[in-house]
Each structure stands twice: as C-alpha cells, then as structure tokens.
C-alpha cells in the first residue's frame, strides 16, 4: 500500500473546442483556461467556490488569475511544476498528495493556450529565446548555431536511434498514420476529416531531417482542465471517478542539456515508469490503452521503449502492424494525440483517458478499458506517468 493508491481520483473533465484559425484572438491564455475549468467543475457537479486548490501549467496563467475569475475566495493550495509538458502528470500527483493529506479538498488542474493564433514557436524563438527549453544554456550554446526549436533538437535523437538500431522512416510514419486513424474517429480532432496514408506521410516535406511535416504536432488554440478529489468525496458526486493507481516523475541527467548525456536515449520515464507500475501493482500487460505525450512521432517510439513496452531499439517494429492503431493490442493516443487531435499541452491526453475509462469515447471507445496510462514529456525529456483505472 502507499499514500496515493485508490485515494485520489479525477471527478471532472472539461475542454474548449480545439482550433487552428489564423483570425483567432491570440493573446493571453486565461480565457481558454477559464472556459475549460468551468466545464470541468460543472462536469464534476461542483460549484466554482468548492475548488480550494489550483495547480497551473508552467508559463501560463497563475493560480490567482484563475481564482479571482472563478470566485475561489478560499484558495488553500497552489503549485506549479517546471517540467513543461510533463506538468499535467506532475500536477495530478501533486493534487493527489494535497487531497490525500487534507491540504485541499477539490483541486483544479487547468491548461490551455492560443498556440496557433497567439505566439507560435517560430515567434517565441525570435522574441524570447530563453523561454524555450534549456533557457539560457540553449540561448547561448544552441541558438547561435541555428538550433532553435524542439523539432530540431529532438531530430538529433531520432537520427541517433535510426543509426544505432536501424529504425526506418516508415516506422516513424506508422506512428503518424496510427494516430491519424484514431483522430478520424474523434469529432473533436483537428484532423478528423483528413486521412493520412504512409505514402502521403513519406511524400511530405522535411522540416528537420529525419522529421517530416506529419511527424510534428499541431499547434492549436484550446484549453482543457480536470478536477481531483478523494474517493470518499467522489461518492457524493455525479460522475464515475477515475482513480489514480500509480504515479511517478523523473528527469534525464543533465535535464537542461540534451547533447551531453552519457545515455542519449534516457528520459525521465526511463527510471520513473517502474516506480509507477510498482505503486499501481500492475504490469505492462494490464494496460488497455496509452495516451503518450507526442510532440513528434519518434518521441512516442522512444517513450514506449523507455517505459519497457519493448526493448530499446525495438520500438520501430513495435509500432508497426497495427498494434497501436484502433483495435490494436495497445491503442496509443486514442484521440489522435498532439499530432492529429491538437497540441493542448498534453492536457487533452488526460481528458481523453478519463473519457475512455468512463466509457464515453463514442466510436473510438477502447473495449473493456479498465486501465490506461498517460505520459507527460517536457523540455528535454522531463517525464511523468500516471496510471489511471476505473
């Protein structure tokens, strides 16, 4: 037994439409975070002022921005983890500890951004280089050499994997194609109406070799949020609770520099995963689906390997043959993920996992979905993993 097991659960989820419209409003993310938060609180059957903990995503609105607008007049707990896209998973664990210890009763985890109509990566790299992963180190030692964006530094790792293990472009493409198949069953996915074949994938332009266009996630406008409380409190709420069975976080070393690591494939998940599985008391075969943070296609293969779903070097073959597609043995990113639903900071991975475990996923519902995992991936490989069950 451990302090988390069975004691914390997600009782509300909410999101806004996910959009890519160049005449979108842009600007600060607060409106999206608030809209998603309101929806999550309503979904839980709570009132805004029941919320007494808020754990915002790093670099977006801060807790008091949300509290003052929502009318949360007794905010008892707030915290932010500086781990980029691993943040939602880290915050879920933090929320579980907060409600388990009595520091707070109902914790809100919001996220969202105008990732398309607001500042896009290609603008941030000009205006505010040290806001990117790696901060001042990247600004001083990567940027002057034209290494200015995630698609470039992660492509290093993909190439190393291809050189060392023979991973092929078609195997990266298998990830993009599988996730597009999932997205085609998701009414909320940006790529709902756009089929993708392996041939089209291979014919698309190269962005940073070996990454082509469809290896890259979809910058988008949108917000998502969820609410965490104890299983005891959840009994009085209307939605079926989704329990946090196991959780862990980790960082590669050194976390702030992706080129000097002794083990270039190491991620935060490399060491974290076993801790989470041990906490949950389950094995890999017990996982019915996986929502894997997917900034780029290869990072899905890499995380599957580092989590131990297959051996290092075997990830390319693992994702081929339909295993991660709808109806496969391990459906991955059943909403389409950041590649084909929308890049909503990985918040959308949690919303999707909860829908699956509630049995509310419509035509993309995974049959007999009892246990799902959600990973987070931030900066240069910070990791979080949450094992969720109904």
């Amino acid at each position: 037994m451990n302090a988390l097991e069975g004691r914390a659960c997600i009782v509300g989820i909410g999101d806004t439409p996910y959009l890519r419209e160049s005449d979108g409003p842009g600007g600060r993310s607060l409106a999206l975070e608030l809209r998603a938060s309101e929806a999550a609180i309503r979904d839980a059957g709570l009132r805004n002022r029941d919320i007494d903990g808020i754990l915002p995503f790093y670099g977006l609105s801060i807790a008091e921005d949300l509290a003052v607008n929502l009318g949360v007049d007794d905010l008892r707990y707030q915290a932010t983890s500086h781990v980029g896209g691993a943040g939602p998973g880290a915050s879920l664990a933090n929320a579980a500890m907060a409600v388990g210890s009595g520091m707070a009763s109902y914790v809100l985890i919001p996220g969202g951004w105008y990732g398309f109509s607001g500042r896009r990566v290609r603008q941030i790299v000009v205006q505010d280089p040290s806001a990117m992963s790696g901060g001042a180190n990247a600004r001083d030692f990567y940027f002057p050499f034209g290494l200015t964006a995630p698609v470039q530094w992660f492509s290093f790792i993909a190439r190393l994997h291809m050189d060392r293990y023979g991973t092929r472009p078609e195997q990266l493409g298998a990830v993009a194609v599988a996730q597009r198949k999932h997205a085609r069953r998701n009414p909320g996915a940006l790529m709902r109406d756009k089929p993708l074949s392996l041939e089209s994938y291979l014919a698309a332009p190269v962005i940073a070799d070996p990454y082509r266009l469809f290896d890259c996630s979809l910058e988008a406008d949108g917000g998502a949020a969820f609410v965490v409380t104890t299983l005891e409190r959840a009994r009085d709420l209307r939605a079926q609770p989704v329990r946090l069975l196991g959780s862990a976080q980790g960082q590669p070393f050194p976390a702030d520099d992706i080129v000097t690591r002794e083990d270039v494939f190491e991620l935060g998940l490399t060491r974290a995963t076993a801790r989470a599985f041990r906490m949950a008391g389950i094995g890999h075969d017990d996982v019915d689906f996986a929502e894997i943070y997917d900034p780029f296609s290869f990072q899905v293969i890499q995380q599957l390997e580092e989590m131990g779903f297959c051996k290092r070097g075997e990830g390319g073959a693992f994702v081929e043959g339909g295993r991660i597609e709808p109806g496969g043995a391990l459906p991955v990113n059943t909403h389409g993920g950041l590649l084909s639903e929308a890049h909503i900071l990985g918040m959308n991975h949690f919303v999707e996992a909860v829908r699956q475990l509630r049995g509310e996923a419509g035509e993309r519902q995974v049959k007999n979905a009892d246990i799902g995992i959600v990973t987070g991936f931030g900066d240069f490989g910070d990791g979080s993993i949450a094992i969720l069950g109904r």
Binding site: Q127, D140, P144, F145, T148, V259
Partner: protein, 139 residues
Amino acid sequence: MDPKSAGTEKPLPLMEGTTAAFYGHCRNRELRFQRCTGCGRWRHVPRLCCSHCGSWDWEWARSSGRGKVFTWTVVARPMHPAFAGDAPYAPAIIELEEGVRMVSWVVDCPPEELATGMPVAVIFEDVTDEVTLPRFRRA
C-alpha cells in the same frame, strides 16, 4: 522592435558570466572548456560546480579542438527567420577528444556528406565585433 525587422539578425549568446568567458576564448582562437580541478573532468555547458565530485574549483582548459561528428540534423525549414538563407543547414553535435560535446556546424561540408564519426577540427568565425563562434572543418 520593428516587427518587420524582427528576427533578421541571427541570435547571439548573451555575453555575461561564463558564457562571455567561453566566447572570449574563441575570440582569441582558443577552444576552452571548464575542467574541474577537483577530479579533472571536462565539462560543457558551463556550470558553477562539478556534478561528479562537488568541487567548486575549475579552470578554463584548452581543448585540442579535434573531435568527431556525434550526430546531426538537416534543417530544411528553419524555425528562426534569420537562418532562412542558410537552409538547408546542418547543426551537428561534435564530440571533442576531451569527451565533451557541443553544438556547432561543419563548414565546407554539404549536409549529405556528413557521417557519424567523421573527424573534424575547430576553426573560428567572427560573426560580430564581439562574438566569435567555434565551427568545425573536416580534419
């Protein structure tokens, strides 16, 4: 900043602290990295203390400037507008003889001729009056 001219200048290191010291050595045509005087380990990027032995004592030790290509990418569509005229260009990770790795470019080498393990040696390019970047050439 005038939005029209935003991003036309290539990004430069912020010349302060250990960053200024590193690039200052480059200006003098020397590639130097931190070396811990406690345990003798070389390191890059610059740090305040040694993550291996904990020592706060270090020196700027001169590298041979020789190394090999560890890996690279070919940027076809730059994400920073100042590099538009360079595309396709190939940021590479160079592993120096001393064991440290750094990001740079291999000049005079078309991206399609890059190869893992290719021997390279440092050269220096003054990109502004203040900043000199270390680059590499096939050795």
